[in-house]
């Protein structure tokens, strides 16, 4: 006899195992990359020297480099990569579209424009700038949704309108950069260019707290999100509060990426790449949120290592990820085109 229940259980267990293996592998990769980030650089230190500088003798010569320069990059870069990863994954699965990550449909530009406005025109920075950038991100999202209408062609319009929005917002940003005082432009550039160079220990609390809070909330919502991937009607018959989950997820994703951006700048393509990579390696797309976050962290670490050690010019990490992301975007377009007109 063919036993459906046990087959399903077997499949479920298999995907659970696969996810577990992926998670552990990624954690291992992240650890290795993290150790590399702490040990190599302008001056190379051995692992024991790093441990000593961190925990035993904090006044040694190595400890300045390790505690003040490399540790914040490790922690903030890792958390930011994680945040970008889960935010991108959430958008992609909410809108059922691999191209719908915040940096493609103009939301990131909206947040950046608001922050740059705060810093250059009003003259406030820090938490307030982050707050306004979240509000602006939400507003841009709302405008894109309202203008895209409903029903047929929604996805098409959303992406095209997002591209248009991005053009206006980028023009506004260039405008403000030209008008703004030179002194503030440095702070503003942080919102525009992804880089871990200016990250300090004081950036850690804000990023850590939002990652834990918003990330936690998103993991709770993720259960419903998975059901919603089956379609709205199906999800509502199964009793998931669709709109609440949707809004909650979106707000959390926006807060996460805005706060991470305030510390590191929008590290290009992480949000866009992590989700599809996670779905690719788990092969099931279920519960890939955690894995997307880990992929994000690993990508940021790898790009940071490459940007600091591979080239004679020390490019900001965002330039490296931008160059990595573009071919993937083209590949994705070709694949979607081949599959048919389903973008």
């Amino acid at each position: 006899m063919y036993n459906t229940e046990s087959t399903l259980k077997k499949i479920y267990r298999k995907s659970y195992h696969r996810n577990l293996i992926c998670t552990l592998t990624l954690l291992f990769v992240i650890t290795v990359l993290g150790i590399l980030m702490m040990t190599i650089g302008n001056t190379n230190y051995s692992i024991s020297q790093v441990v000593k500088a961190l925990f035993i003798d904090q006044s040694s010569k190595a400890s300045y480099t390790i505690i003040s320069l490399r540790l914040p990059r490790l922690i903030v870069g890792g958390l930011a990569g994680f945040s970008f990863g889960i935010a991108g994954y959430t958008f992609q699965s909410l809108l059922r579209n691999p191209l719908a990550s915040p940096d493609i449909i103009g939301i990131t530009s909206g947040s950046s424009a608001a922050a740059v406005f705060c810093i250059l025109i009003i003259g406030v920075s820090g938490a307030l700038a982050s707050f306004f950038s979240v509000i602006a991100g939400l507003a841009v999202t709302a405008i894109i949704f309202l203008l895209s209408g409903k029903g047929n062609g929604f996805g098409t319009k959303m992406i095209l309108i997002g591209i248009g929005m991005q053009a206006v917002l980028n023009a506004l940003i260039s405008w403000m950069l030209l008008v703004g005082s030179e002194y503030d432009v440095g702070t503003a550039l942080r919102w525009l260019r992804g880089s871990l160079n200016s990250v300090t220990l004081s950036d850690i609390p804000a990023v850590a707290i939002t990652t834990v809070m918003c990330g936690g909330l998103m993991f709770v919502c993720n259960r419903y999100l998975r059901i919603m991937q089956l379609g709205d009607e199906f999800a509502s018959t199964l009793g998931s509060p669709i709109n609440l989950v949707r809004i909650c997820c979106m707000v959390c994703a926006l807060v996460l990426s805005a706060v991470a951006t305030s510390a590191t700048g929008p590290i290009a393509s992480i949000a866009f790449l992590s989700g599809p990579i996670a779905v690719g390696i788990t092969r099931n797309g279920k519960n890939a949120m955690l894995i997307s976050g880990l992929v994000g962290t690993a990508l940021v670490y790898a790009a940071e290592l490459a940007s600091k050690n591979l080239f004679s010019t020390k490019y900001p990490v965002g330039v490296i990820t931008g160059i990595l992301g573009a071919p993937y975007l083209l590949f994705l377009l070709l694949r979607l085109n081949r599959k048919g007109d389903k973008i």
Partner: protein, 321 residues
């Protein structure tokens, strides 16, 4: 009507800027050359950029009209398709690595970059089912543009001198244009616009569908290739001098189609004249708003043009457009 706007635009371009000069004085100085006051010097400095603005604007307007006609797509424009980023990349490569500084050399490079990008973007967009619809074209254009923009950055970033000098490549500015530039660009713009005018009626026939055009005796492949060549050339010569200026070619043909008719024989001349007016006015706005410095014209055209792009998209109904 349009001519009046352009004349007013030209006069204001000479009159306004970080230093304003009354209209009457402008006319006075223009017709009594030989005066060597400060105002006269300011006016003399503003004339080349105004003339270049006219050439660039009409070239971009016609270029957009041609691209929209060939792709049968209302949102085609050199900036949306990424063609002018491709041109900029080649120019930056030429300056940074090949030591090319002659205007003609840069125009050649810019043309090669624009052609390659156009073929690449169109190739990606038309790959697979459904042909090259608006969405695919815009997405491929945006993706290619981002990729090439990142490359432009990697070339410029290590060298702060190159960065300072060519920052306007990414934004688009006609402020640096000289009389030599004008002399260099003029023949290309004239040839491009004449080609467009000659091709206009064949493009009209092709708008009815390729089969219909063939039965009307149009050599579809030849017309398409020549139009693409003219469109890319017009955009490339402007980009070689001014950097990427977006959305001019998007707005004008659309406006003409809304106000007058969907006839290429009207769209091309009106886009040329209107593009000239639009670019010169945008340049003046940028100079007035950006006082005491100036805002690059590319910023102004994006702020004006992108909402129109969004409006076109929001109004359309069809899937894939």
């Amino acid at each position: 009507m349009e001519i009046v706007i352009v004349v007013v635009a030209l006069l204001s371009s000479v009159a306004y800027g970080s230093k304003s000069i009354p209209f009457g004085d402008v006319l006075g100085y223009l017709f009594n050359s030989g005066s060597d006051s400060f105002e006269a010097a300011v006016i003399a400095a503003r004339i080349p950029r105004t003339v270049f603005g006219v050439l660039a604007g009409s070239a971009l307007g016609v270029s957009g009209a041609l691209m929209q006609a060939i792709t049968r797509n209302p949102v085609a424009d050199p900036s949306i398709l990424g063609v002018n980023t491709g041109a900029s990349l080649m120019v930056v490569i030429g300056i940074a690595y090949l030591n090319i500084s002659s205007g003609l050399g840069l125009i050649g490079l810019s043309f090669v970059g624009a052609i390659l990008t156009a073929l690449f973007v169109y190739g990606i967009a038309s790959y697979g089912f459904g042909g090259a619809n608006s969405l695919k074209l815009a997405l491929s254009g945006a993706a290619v543009s981002t990729a090439l923009g990142a490359l432009v950055n990697t070339i410029m970033l290590p060298d702060s001198q190159v960065m300072k000098e060519f920052r306007f490549w990414q934004i688009g500015s006609i402020g640096g244009a000289t009389c030599d530039d004008i002399r260099l660009v003029l023949p290309f713009v004239i040839i491009g616009i004449i080609m467009a005018l000659i091709l206009a009626s064949s493009l009209n026939a092709m708008a009815l569908g390729d089969e219909m055009a063939v039965s009307l005796g149009v050599n579809v492949g030849l017309v398409r290739a020549l139009s693409a060549l003219a469109g890319v050339m017009l955009c490339a010569v402007v980009t070689a001098i001014a950097g990427p200026v977006g959305f001019v070619g998007l707005m004008l043909p659309h406006l003409v189609r809304q106000l007058l008719d969907n006839d290429m024989r009207l769209i091309i001349p009106f886009s040329a004249v209107g593009g000239a007016g639009l670019l010169v006015i945008s340049d003046v706005i940028g100079r007035v708003l950006g006082r005491p410095g100036e805002l690059e014209v590319g910023i102004i055209t994006a702020i004006l043009g992108a909402p129109i792009f969004i409006w076109i998209v929001a109004r359309s109904k069809a899937k894939g457009m």
